[in-house]
């Protein structure tokens, strides 16, 4: 329970900072940056696999956050997810735009997935995480792996098909079946 309270308090604190940022408060913006930049940089780094590109993406992300703080809606997303979503989408856009700096390592999807799992085990603090991961575990391995890889590496269908050396239609079919099962499983709680 105390952990939940702590999480709630941290959320409330971060939400309050975002609202101050929405009012143009630079000091709150810096405070928010200090609290969240390591997380958001981690997101960019995971997607882009390159420090310089990730720092550029991080800059873009915080400029967007500064300009769009008013759009934050605490009812629709937790503050850190809202911020991390901006960072993830910014990194994906950068990866796919013209000067593609993508330096994707050749680690296999399987290795990627298992590495992520070990990190995850320390972080299952929320019920939502528990249900999501239980349901991801219930998928066929290839379904789970394409979904996780898409999320963590920011790959499009075309990139996934290329990376896996598998026809696009097959990759789509794995993803869609996996998503359907994931949804059904999560609805069942």
């Amino acid at each position: 329970m105390s952990q939940t309270n702590e999480t709630d308090r941290a959320r409330a604190q971060l939400s309050a900072l975002i609202w101050k940022v929405a009012d143009g408060d630079r000091q709150s913006f810096q405070e928010m940056y200090n609290l969240t930049s390591a997380k958001l940089f981690g997101v960019c780094l995971r997607i882009l696999n390159d420090r310089q590109a990730s720092e550029d993406a991080l800059q873009d992300a915080y400029v967007k956050i500064w300009r769009n703080a008013r759009r934050f809606d605490a009812k629709r997303a937790s503050p850190i997810t809202w911020l991390a979503t901006i960072a993830r989408n910014t990194a994906i856009d950068r990866k796919r735009s013209g000067g593609n700096r993508m330096m994707v390592s050749d680690e296999t999807i399987k290795e990627m997935a298992s590495a992520e799992r070990s990190v995850l085990e320390n972080l299952e603090t929320q019920e939502g995480a528990h249900i999501l991961n239980k349901c991801l575990d219930s998928l066929e391995a290839r379904q789970r792996n394409v979904i996780r890889t898409a999320f963590f590496e920011g790959h499009s269908y075309n990139e996934l098909a290329q990376k896996l050396d598998t026809p696009l239609g097959t990759v789509k079919s794995w993803v869609r079946r996996g998503l359907k099962r994931l949804k059904d499983c999560m609805n069942d709680g």
Binding site: Q30, E55, V63, I86, N89, V119, Q126, F151, S156, K183
Partner: protein, 233 residues
């Protein structure tokens, strides 16, 4: 063979694919437009965002170089001057914020040179930018404080049953309608007298999609699809 039960409805699948970032090119553009025009689809996107939300916990933290913060500050400081042009170009070519927030809509407000300028006036330009859900959608607004005329140039708005309506939001946070604007090209309007004082550097402009109406609505019914902070420069 694929059994019926193994498939999501098309829209459900599209929403999930958008959230995961699997779409690119036309497919992504179509999905983002749909998110804007179809509330049911927008809700499906929100729901998928919530489902995968816990995955964000798994990203490991990593400290960026100290110089990043300095660069961000510099960009915010330059945001009110010619740095904006470069940012506009960059945003138009590359960027989309998607998911819960979505997209790339740049809103530029130019408080242009007044046709009759007092001698003490210098040419002032105010710029605001924001990201929205639709790649390539760009809105440029110029406002002449002497005539209270606002000129809106809009490009890249998708076909929807709803109409774009412009709102000014002052420091009280309450959106006040400036009326609906054309879907494409240039519209001009006279800003109502009680809203003119709101057009200053503390205000923002929002664009939302509303049922078509000749009379400005009292308040927006949906999420803004674009927000831009007004900056007088």
């Amino acid at each position: 063979m694929v059994e019926e039960t193994t498939l999501l409805k098309d829209d459900e699948a599209l929403a999930a694919e958008l959230v995961l970032g699997l779409l690119d090119g036309d497919e992504k553009a179509i999905a983002l437009r749909k998110q804007l025009s179809d509330p049911q689809f927008a809700q499906a996107v929100d729901e998928w965002n919530q489902r995968i939300d816990p995955l964000f916990q798994e990203f490991q933290e990593s400290e960026p170089a100290a110089s990043v913060w300095a660069s961000i500050e510099k960009r915010l400081d330059n945001g009110s001057s010619n740095g904006v042009i470069a940012q506009m170009k960059r945003w138009r070519t590359g960027a989309i914020i998607s998911g819960a927030l979505a997209a790339c809509l740049a809103l530029v407000i130019i408080v242009g040179p007044a046709p009759i300028r007092s001698t003490s006036d210098t040419q002032s330009v105010a710029v605001a930018q924001l990201t929205g859900d639709i790649e390539g959608l760009v809105l440029a607004v110029s406002y002449n404080p002497e005539t209270a005329k606002m000129r809106v140039d809009i490009n890249g708005m998708p076909e929807t049953d709803t109409a774009p309506e412009l709102w000014i939001v002052g420091s009280d946070g309450i959106p006040r309608s400036l009326g609906q604007i054309g879907r494409d090209g240039i519209s001009t309007m006279t800003v109502p007298s009680d809203h003119r004082q709101l057009i200053n550097a503390a205000a923002i402009l929002q664009l939302s999609m509303e049922p078509p109406s000749d009379i400005p609505h009292a308040k927006p019914t949906g999420e803004p699809v674009a927000i831009g902070k007004i900056t007088i420069i």
